[in-house]
């Protein structure tokens, strides 16, 4: 097994202007927020026609993690998994999203199927996807306080919130 941290030592390969990382044999692109939509679009044109998954990660407890490629790690990361049915390949795009401005452009216009994923990511992490047609919560009740999958949202210490309950 190769070293799992995989900060690539060999010459940096790029695709659509993004450094390519080999994460345990899987191809990962690190896009900046500005590149994000155009990279996904370029990949879609290249044959990655299906967006199978979009999710977030809160790296609050790993602030000094090494990404490599001179990329400044931020608190949030949005991870997009793309699939090419024709080429039978997968590719993953990771984008750093700072906590001060937790916004990212939506992929709705390229992959309408990300609608629910983006709503879920918003619901769980509070990352707002600009341009999304219906940026509401999806799993939690709409009057819920906080975003549960953030690392500073502790488990078990929050009183149970019931919608419409008499108090």
């Amino acid at each position: 097994m190769s070293d799992s941290t995989d900060t690539v030592e060999n010459a940096v390969e790029t695709q659509h202007g993004c450094p390519v990382q080999n994460s345990l044999g899987q191809r990962v692109l690190h896009a900046s927020r500005d590149q994000y939509v155009s990279v996904i679009k370029a990949l879609a044109d290249e044959g990655y026609e299906m967006c199978v998954d979009l999710t977030g990660v809160d790296y609050l407890e790993m602030p000094q993690r090494a990404i490599g490629f001179g990329i400044q790690p931020e608190r949030f990361e949005v991870v997009v998994n793309l699939l090419s049915l024709s080429k039978r390949q997968r590719i993953r795009v990771r984008v750093q999203v700072p906590v001060e401005d937790a916004t990212l452009a939506t992929l709705f216009d390229i992959h309408p199927g990300t609608e629910a994923h983006e709503r879920e990511t918003f619901d769980m992490f509070g990352i707002v996807f600009t341009g999304h047609p219906d940026m509401t919560r999806i799993l939690m009740p709409e009057d819920w306080d906080g975003h549960p999958l953030r690392k500073d949202y502790s488990q078990g210490s929050i009183p149970v919130q019931f919608k419409g309950a008499h108090s």
Partner: protein, 442 residues
């Protein structure tokens, strides 16, 4: 009601009435219901942006409705009996399983993920275990017997899941006797699972490194009994349903989706295959030893509810074919990897060795550490692509554990399939998408 917070102003999740919408917002909403971009939605000439308000009404179907397969709520805008717009509202079964997954060790994680898609628990465990094994770098060292046992269980699980689909599909469309038959046959498979794993459901049997135990004595006869009993039963179902004009009338041409739409919406599994795209991860991106087996990928043509029914029906037969091959080729050997890091010592060793006892204690209290990294692994569950994305920070708990649930994505196709159809067909559509709400909400 207590005001909980001011920080949540993103608004309701409901379908708004048309009078509350500006024209652009309405277009957007229709777009979002169609799950198309605004530009694409505008291109669809048949989108009625000006249905008379007094002729339509918005009603709730669910969350407690027998044909919603759990707690799914659909807001339907109806004009007479025609569905104009539909919005699925989910989250009623949300229990924060991804958050729970961060607090459980890799060893305990199986008990969590197995409860997501409760109709195919073994596939959930399999994808989780494969992701952990990939992070550990032991994915190539799993003993052959463990790999083939995993395939055996996974395929039997696919059969039980599809049998339950036949049962609920029949019930939703009025073939109530089918419900009893489907549950009965599924029970045969679950009885085998109980013999092997100790539990009918939520097994936690496939674990990182292999399986929890070896197959019990007489397992081959039990599997053969299932396989030999099933074909005649399937013939009965064909007579009961497939050939019946009423059955065909209820399903053919209902809930149509095109290949382009299915890909755009990220739909996988029988929904994608019903549109004519032969995409099955078992064949196209093989995992375990599926590349050594001989089976067909069942593909539809029209993308309607009838195709999805037929695909699942015939996938039972394909799974049976696979299980026969597995029975023939099941190797002997170990059922889990002999890697001291991941595998607890055998019970007999604990009686004679202090180190084994310590090792056993440590592995069950602290778990094993997984090197830093992130990985996405996907397999074909009965409902489509189930994926597991794990980020490890080097400790014995996942830093982030995300499950890409096929039902969660597939549910987005419902508004599209229902649009312009009848309310009665909405039931057929829900049934043919075959969502498991435990997996949708996680």
């Amino acid at each position: 009601m207590t005001v909980i917070s001011a920080g949540t102003a993103e608004g309701g999740q409901e379908l708004l009435s048309r009078s509350e919408l500006t024209a652009k917002e309405l277009l957007r909403e229709v777009g979002s219901v169609l799950r198309l971009s605004e530009a694409e939605a505008a291109l669809l000439a048949e989108v009625e942006t000006e249905a008379p308000e007094d002729q339509t009404m918005i009603i709730n179907m669910g969350p407690q409705h027998p044909s919603t397969h759990g707690v799914l709520r659909l807001m339907l805008e109806l004009q007479g009996e025609t569905v104009l717009r539909c919005k699925p509202i989910i989250g009623y079964l949300h229990t924060g399983m991804e958050k729970t997954g961060e607090a459980l060790t890799y060893m305990q994680g199986g008990t969590n993920v197995t409860r997501m898609d409760y109709l195919s628990p073994l596939n959930n465990e399999l994808v989780f275990s494969m992701a952990v094994e990939k992070l550990l770098g032991i994915d190539g060292d799993i003993p052959e017997r463990a790999v083939w046992m995993r395939m055996l269980l996974s395929e039997l699980n696919r059969m039980s899941s599809h049998l339950l689909f036949l049962a609920t599909n029949g019930m939703d469309l009025g073939a109530v006797s089918m419900m009893l038959y489907g549950w009965r046959e599924r029970e045969d498979v679950l009885r085998f699972f109980q013999k092997v794993t100790g539990l009918r459901m939520n097994h936690n049997f496939i674990r990182p490194g292999g399986l929890a135990a070896d197959l019990p004595a007489g397992w081959r006869d039990d599997v053969l009994a299932i396989l030999e009993g099933l074909p005649s039963r399937l013939e009965e179902y064909e007579i009961l349903m497939t050939g019946q004009p009423i059955w065909r009338e209820r399903l053919q041409g209902v809930g149509v989706i095109t290949a382009q739409e299915a890909i755009a919406l990220g739909a996988t599994g029988p929904i994608l295959r019903s549109t004519g795209i032969a995409w099955d991860l078992r064949r196209d991106m093989p995992y375990l030893r599926y590349d050594e087996l001989d089976f067909d990928v069942i593909v539809g043509q029209y993308g309607d509810a009838y195709d999805r029914y037929s695909i699942r029906f015939n996938e039972i037969r394909e799974s049976m074919r696979i299980v026969y091959q597995i029975l023939e080729r099941m190797p002997s050997g170990d059922f889990r990897i002999q890697n001291k890091k991941v595998t607890p010592p055998p019970r007999a060793r604990i009686d004679e060795s202090m180190e084994a006892l310590i090792h056993h204690f440590k592995i069950f209290t602290e778990g094993f550490k997984v090197p830093e990294g992130e990985v996405y692994v996907a397999i074909e569950s009965p409902r489509g692509e189930i994926g597991c994305y794990i980020v490890s920070d080097g400790s014995s708990n996942p830093y982030r554990m995300h499950v890409r649930a096929p039902s969660f994505v597939n549910i987005q196709t419902m508004p599209h399939m229902m649009r312009g159809g009848l309310v009665a067909d909405a039931v057929a559509v829900i049934s043919s998408v075959d969502p498991v709400l435990g997996e949708v909400d996680r």
